[in-house]
């Protein structure tokens, strides 16, 4: 049977996409030092648990989806996912392997629980997906892990509520656990933490709220599902609403988890960065 080994969260700021190929030389750069120093323990944990599949909750920022047809929840069901030019010049990375068989198992399973996902046999994945993959599998070392992108709309309101995203994660968790193949699955929540790119409040960061989220998501995620999207926009910034991606990740995990590692840093670019490694209770 498939087994969920744990979950990871990380920010996916585009600027990281430019920095990540230069991680070694930036290790002592005052701007990047603290940020990159947070990642080795997460990579060591991955080396230890050796997942076969990574499921990524992320949001597309206008690469694969446009307003002509904007799904709320979309899942990849392709043998491969490609990255592409996003317009402002972060280097593109080699393709990511898919796992269409597990994708369809999830699609079919969650439909029985009333989650009707948009299914994508072709899907370009943007920095929301590629930056976390590069951070956790540096130097494009993700060749041995199959991926499944689960894309959640954070572009056009109404966005799905925190509670709905958490419930989707729970349904996907049950789907994975009913998958008969012997695979180990890690799940990633990407994006956040507090940031705002638009309006006169651009540059807003809320450390207190971020730290509350990073604390509660470990053992009391239900507390966070009571927030509305409006609450998240007010307290975490317009783009801080990406926190729903973390909640979807948390929904997949077991009720009890063990925190292996965490880090919080203000800031890279306009965004407070947060990293969590949560191991599923056996």
């Amino acid at each position: 049977m498939a087994r969920i080994v744990g979950g990871l969260t990380t920010s996916h700021i585009p600027a990281i996409g430019n920095a990540v190929p230069r991680e070694k030389e930036l290790a002592h750069d005052p701007y990047w030092e603290e940020f990159f120093a947070a990642y080795p323990p997460a990579r060591e944990w991955l080396d230890r648990v050796k997942p076969d599949v990574a499921i990524l909750f992320y949001n597309d920022h206008g690469l694969n989806f446009f307003l002509n047809s904007m799904p709320t929840f979309a899942i990849g069901a392709a043998p491969e996912y490609r990255n592409a030019d996003e317009g402002w010049g972060i280097p593109t990375v080699p393709p990511f392997k898919g796992d269409p068989k597990l994708s369809w198992h999830i699609i079919n399973s969650v439909a029985r629980e009333n989650f009707d996902l948009t299914t994508c046999q072709e899907m370009l994945v943007d920095h929301g997906f590629s930056v976390p993959m590069q951070l956790f599998w540096p130097n494009h070392s993700y060749g041995n892990v199959r991926t499944i992108p689960v894309e959640i709309n954070t572009v056009q309101h109404p966005l799905p509520s925190p509670a709905r995203c958490f419930a989707l994660g729970q349904a996907i968790g049950r789907a994975i656990e009913s998958y008969p193949e012997n695979v180990k699955v890690v799940v990633l929540g990407t994006g956040g933490l507090s940031h705002q790119l638009d309006g006169e409040r651009a540059g807003f960061i809320n450390k207190k709220f971020d730290l509350l989220c990073m604390d509660k998501i470990v053992n009391e995620p239900e507390v966070l599902t009571r927030y509305s999207i409006h609450d998240l926009v007010r307290d975490a910034g317009a783009q801080g609403a990406e926190f729903i991606l973390w909640l979807a990740m948390r929904g997949v995990l077991s009720h009890k988890v063990r925190k292996i590692h965490s880090s919080y840093h203000v800031a890279i670019s306009n965004t407070a960065t947060g990293l969590l490694v949560l191991e599923n209770a056996a």
Partner: protein
Amino acid sequence: MSMHTVHTTEIEEQIPGTYIFDGEAAMKGYALNKMCYSFNNAENRAEFLKDEDAYCRKYGLTDEQRKAICERNVLAMIHAGGCIYYLAKFAGIFGLNVQDVGAQQRGITVDAFKKLIKSQGE
């Protein structure tokens, strides 16, 4: 419970300096956002730079949107229905990142903007 308790969007308080990109904005900004979405493609970026007027006409920008693009005024683009995720691709044509764009909207220098960001971590 009453049937009339679900209209949360109408009663939500305004968040200062914050614009919710909702259906109304998405309809208003469609042409502008569609043009900016096209800038994922390098050939389109080159075509825009070669003849900005013609490119904006091709996408049917409103006068308000055309003026905002002409003036490189991000807040005006947002008032004209622009969504920041697409507008970032427009800014990218000129080598501007989200900090440049943030500083412009705040009306402060990029250095002051960077200081503001950092100060919120203390």
